[in-house]
């Protein structure tokens, strides 16, 4: 068959992405219709920049979700190699397509003769899963430590700030090179870090609810029991793999038995996840600490103190809600930064398996032959660029709209 021209490639890609367009139009139509009732999210649709950003982000989220677990958009298996398609330019037809195969490699083949288009879509799913979740964990750690540091000050603040500055003084890439290696995975250090870092959301939610319902013991006790049981189960499933929390050749610490373990995390992904949270948490800590120091001098905090509220109630139910504006904006920016960090890890071939379709790893494998074959590296590079750009624009739009009132 004849290879496709550039116009035909464009049309074919657009057709292939139909599910994304349908979902995107539906989301925008619903949001614009009900924007008056949707608070800050609704106001986003008043600013052009915010809408463009939201559209770019949702495009990749939808492409990741629909292409990943639903398997809708992808044309070929992202890991299987097709003979004769090595480094072929975009739009090349398959030599001998089997019955039901998509007859073209829309964006060409990479150096192992895999379909670039399908890999980018599958890679979006990996990024869309890890980046927001890692950012969320970093925020939990940063908020849980930053609020008391800013509110109480003193030795606690000095100690925690020193630790945060210590981590921040490390060049990120050096830290990654030291932490994200198979040798370190062997020693079990990522598991210990996961044990500590993953505990923060649990602690955060428990303290949050406890502070709120402290005076209504009849509500508080059953609520906390349910929350601790549920989140505790999730936490233990998260940290234990194959019935052990830490398993090294020398010793093992038993964890949740495999029978009731909800899910296992691949050790390569775990170490990437943990180190990204570890790198991001100190910055969030500093932001939250600064906000807490600023807000604790306000009148409503003094009023709460006079009422006799406990320090955790004041921190979590007076200070934190009033710090939400800058924190939401930073959350968007930080997801973008986390995406960049994930790409950096992939670029240096750290952590994720070398055949993984995530964008950083794909850029890394494409750059060896970059001077001869451009498309295997440029397609994921543009994908990463547009996602991060979307997040930045979204943050900008949110900042503008939240400043308006």
């Amino acid at each position: 068959m004849e290879p496709l021209s550039w116009g035909e490639i464009f049309v074919a890609v657009m057709v292939q992405l139909t599910p994304v367009w349908i979902a995107l139009v539906a989301i925008f139509a619903l949001s614009v219709t009900f924007k008056g009732r949707l608070g800050l999210y609704g106001k986003l649709f008043d600013s052009t920049i915010g809408m463009i950003g939201f559209g770019l982000v949702m495009f990749w989220v939808l492409a990741g979700v629909l292409g990943g677990p639903f398997d809708l958009i992808v044309t070929h298996d992202p890991l299987s190699q097709v003979s004769g398609m090595k480094n072929e330019p975009p739009g090349t037809a398959l030599r001998s397509p089997a019955e039901g195969d998509y007859p073209y490699f829309l964006l060409g083949g990479d150096n192992l003769a895999r379909d670039v288009f399908s890999r980018v879509i599958k890679g979006a799913w990996i990024v869309v899963q890890i980046a927001p979740l890692a950012t969320l964990f970093a925020f939990m750690v940063g908020i849980t430590l930053g609020l008391p540091a800013g509110y109480f000050g003193g030795a606690l603040d000095t100690g925690l700030s020193f630790l945060a500055n210590l981590i921040l003084a490390f060049p990120v890439i050096l830290l990654f090179y030291l932490l994200v290696t198979p040798e370190i995975v062997q020693t079990g250090i990522p598991n210990y870090m996961a044990l500590v870092l993953f505990a923060f959301p649990l602690v955060f939610v428990v303290v949050l609810l406890n502070a709120r319902y402290w005076t209504r013991k009849a509500v508080r006790t059953p609520l906390l029991a349910v929350v601790i049981l549920g989140l505790g189960w999730l936490y233990l499933s998260l940290v234990s793999t194959g019935g052990a929390v830490v398993a090294t050749p020398e010793y093992r610490i038993p964890g949740l038995p495999a029978a009731i373990d909800l899910f296992d995390i691949d050790p390569g992904i775990l170490v990437v996840f943990v180190s990204v949270v570890f790198v991001n948490a100190p910055t969030v800590f500093r932001i939250v600490r600064g906000l807490a120091m600023d807000i604790k001098t306000r009148d409503y905090v003094a009023a709460a103190q006079t009422r006799g509220e406990g320090p955790w109630y004041i921190m979590l139910w007076e200070i934190l809600p009033n710090a939400r504006g800058p924190l939401i904006v930073d959350f968007c920016l930080r997801i973008g930064y986390t995406t960049i960090l994930l790409g950096t890890l992939g670029f240096f071939g750290l952590g994720l398996a070398s055949e993984s379709p995530d964008w950083g790893t794909t850029i890394n494998s494409g750059r060896q032959l970059l001077r001869a074959y451009v498309h295997p590296a440029v397609v994921p590079a543009v994908a990463l660029l547009t996602l991060v750009l979307g997040l930045n624009l979204l943050a900008d739009g949110l900042r503008e709209e939240s400043l308006r009132d």
């Binding site: 003084a169 490390f170 950096t344 970059l370 590079a381 543009v382 990463l384 750009l389």
Partner: protein
Amino acid sequence: MGLFILKRLGVMVLTALCLTFVVFWLTNLYPNLEKLAKTQGNFRMSDEAVESYLGRNGYLQPLPIKFGQWLGVVPGWVIETDGTVAGKCFDAGTPEEARRSYCGVLQGDWGRSTVFKADVGGIVAERLGLTGKLMFFVMLLMVPMALLIGVLAGMREGSKLDRSLSTVSILSTATPEYVSGVIFIAVFASSAGFKIFNGSATSAMDDATFENFTLPVVTIALFGMGYIARMTRASMSEVMTAQYIRTARLKGVSFGNIVLKHALRNALIAPFTVIMLQFPWLLNGVVIVETLFNYKGFGWVLVQAAGNNDIELLLAVSVVSVIVVLLTQLISDIGYVYLNPRIRVA
């Protein structure tokens, strides 16, 4: 002021010590030592051979003692195997009276690289020079461009010029070096695009020309530029709403004069600190760009040292980068005080 600097220097030394200890601990974990032994010997070494290699080279001593030896506060190891005496501080053939007992960082001895088979101090100095050259051109391009964009965008907030320049700076902060580098090579240095520049900067180490040095410099400068420009814009637009600017305007001073003579001085205080704090971020960019363009500077050494678990080289690299980070923070604090007389430190 003197006390403030002294205190900050103390914290700096403490931070550097803690960080080097962390690096030391991570690189001296047994699986890492095993990898080191196998890259130095051969990859099919038995466990006993690995053990004896590590023992012979002093790697199996307790961690604090090894760290003390590296610092130079504990005498270096001397190990006798089969009649030959080997030590950390002398070569095999040195007569007994010429042997030194201390050799560490405090004595100015940074150790020996296991990858490059050379003294660490020499390697780091040479590679830092090369990276210094790269950074010089990056700064030369990045700082004026960023300030120009920021000032132009910030002098009339909300105008068309502001909108488009702000979008440019957002775009540049959203493009990490490995993305812009790949796109630049694809467009300007590949067979599919225009062949204007060189996609490799290896030849720029001896002889930097426009063809081989432009792409790496632009790639690093672009990512840092957006952030500085946004800070400058924020600071500039704040200054432009100040009372004294309005007064000058009402007095009939021309817009150009207001921007250049009245606003600029005050608007450049904040960007100064941001520029200084960008240095540590540039270090990241340097590692990526030097790897991508094969420019064998400091970042390239970092990757080599970390990839091969070259302990002493890696320690020296981390000491240098930590000092760069902390020193720029100190300079930015001091500079801020000097530029802004309203701020006083105790």
